[in-house]
Amino acid sequence: MIEVENLTKRFPTRVAVSDVSFSVQVGEIVGFLGPNGAGKTTAMRVLSGFLPPTAGTARVAGFDVVTRSMEARASLGYLPESAALYPEMRVHEYLAYRARLEGVGGAEVKKRVGEAIESCLLQEVANQKVENLSKGFRQRTALAGALVHRPPVLILDEPTVGLDPMQIIKIREMIRSLGRERAVLLSTHILPEVDAVCDRVLIIDRGRIVAEGTAAELRSRLAGSPVVRATFAGQVDAREPLASLPGVTSVSQESAGDETRVRLECATGADPREEIFRTAVARGWVLRELAREGVTLEDVFVRLTRHEDVRPESEPLPPAEGVSA
């Protein structure tokens, strides 16, 4: 439903999107992941018809966004990054306005508005003015506005930015259910979001797609050797005994307060955790913690978008959810 071929968008001072190609099918939710300023919003604006491409083509529901802009726009529900609304309008009025802008008329307007209110769980605020809504409800109203004409394609630019955790969960649930019969492209710089919502990920950096695949694929492709961490009470020298365990390639340890922390790098596929436990029991060490580190999408992301010349974004990345490979 979304087909992008060799898309380039150049601004007078910089190239925002450079030779990007990808596609999104019906029933698929694709995450556009990248650091701030990577070109996500620009690419989405080209798809939405807001910016013309410098080179390459983009099609939405089979319509070229330049030559058949009207049809492409009609097939598209677009939630801009700003999610801007008119503060003086009531929620249902805003949705009716959006429906009419899409050419819906008569009794159908009311039906579509009802539908959008229901699918975005806006019943309790339908009669309130937008200016009195919380950020979460505003975001949902904007999302409902993008849905009101039942578009087969949805493009959502950072749909969860600025929301609290409960609101984020709600919006994600909505997006997942919307994605069952639509093609959805959503952008985010929040890594757990990709794991939580998307079927497939496109990692974009400095205007180029640097990796593409499912979250699991990306993890396994970029996974280094598995790592096991163990913590023992007191001061012990665990290096020698643990290094001789099968599958362990190297051991390092450090003492911290009243405990000793050990890090073991293992051969691919090896899992020496049970052996470590038995060794600890046999030697009389008290085991406080034992865990195998999964490769998080964050590792993948950092590895792909780390630039030697540029310091990483000052904005701290949210902690990755504990996902094991």
Binding site: F50, E71, R73, L85, Y86, R100, L101, G103
Partner: protein
């Protein structure tokens, strides 16, 4: 058409949701009320010519001062506000053409402008109940208000798309309206008949006097309509260009 009406409807409602609309409306009624009372006072003087006073409603100095100030205030938010808040992105990614957007917003502004004038029809009715009034010149006067209003509003609409700041948009509109209005006034400073003729073509003050005497000159109408079309066209072109470089 449906989309056009959706744009007009939203703009129209936006006017009446802002206190500014009511301030303008009230100020306008106060001004016209003063003028009306002056007309009534004039009619009460012995020997006042019957049916000659009403044109004063359209040709006094306040009429022009008020239009020059009020039009920029009516049009300043049309595009500037949407560009600032970001709603323009939603509007331009809806399947609505730029022409529809521009015409819709302009129509709403014109509608609001005419709404300001609507209450003055009551004055006509009141006067008519007391003294004979020739309705032809009155109709011509209102026609001129609509046409010159549309012309000024198209300039204001164009000013609004040039900036994200409403105040700047209003000042720009004012700065553009002043030369448009005053160029024609230079007519009286010139003795050269050729120059006077050309400048007379732009002399809105005189045009208004003509209309209020009931003289409907098609040259005037062509001037207003073509100028309005020109500024609305420029607005549409600028809107398309903004897409290129937001």
């Amino acid at each position: 058409m449906r989309k056009f009406l959706a744009v007009v409807g939203r703009e129209w409602r936006a006017y009446f949701f802002s206190p500014l609309a009511y301030v303008i409306l009230a100020a306008f009624l106060v001004m016209n009320g003063i003028i009306f009372s002056a007309i009534v006072a004039f009619l009460n003087t012995p020997g006042a010519p019957k049916g000659q006073a009403l044109p004063f409603l359209f040709t006094n100095t306040y009429f022009w001062i008020f239009n020059l100030f009020v039009v920029p205030i009516i049009t300043m938010r049309l595009f500037a506000e949407e560009r600032k808040t970001g709603t323009l992105e939603t509007l331009l990614t809806s399947p609505v053409s730029e022409t529809t957007v521009v015409l819709g917003k302009f129509t709403a502004a014109l509608g609001f402008f005419l709404t300001l004038w609507a209450p003055t029809l009551v004055y006509v009715l009141i006067l008519r109940s007391q003294t004979p009034i020739d309705l032809g010149p009155v109709a011509a006067g209102y026609l001129a208000i609509a046409l010159i209003g549309a012309y000024f509003l198209s300039i204001g609409t164009f000013a609004s798309i040039l900036t994200k700041n409403q105040i700047v948009a209003a000042i720009l509109a004012f700065a553009m309206l002043i030369p448009v209005f005053s160029a024609g006034l230079l007519e009286s400073l010139s003795n050269d008949p050729g120059k006077r003729d050309t400048l007379g073509y732009f002399n809105l003050w005189d045009h208004m006097e003509e209309f209020s005497r009931g003289v409907v000159d098609t040259r005037r109408i062509v001037y207003y309509l073509s100028a309005t079309t020109f500024f609305l066209f420029m607005t549409t072109v600028t809107l398309s260009a903004k897409k290129e470089n937001p």
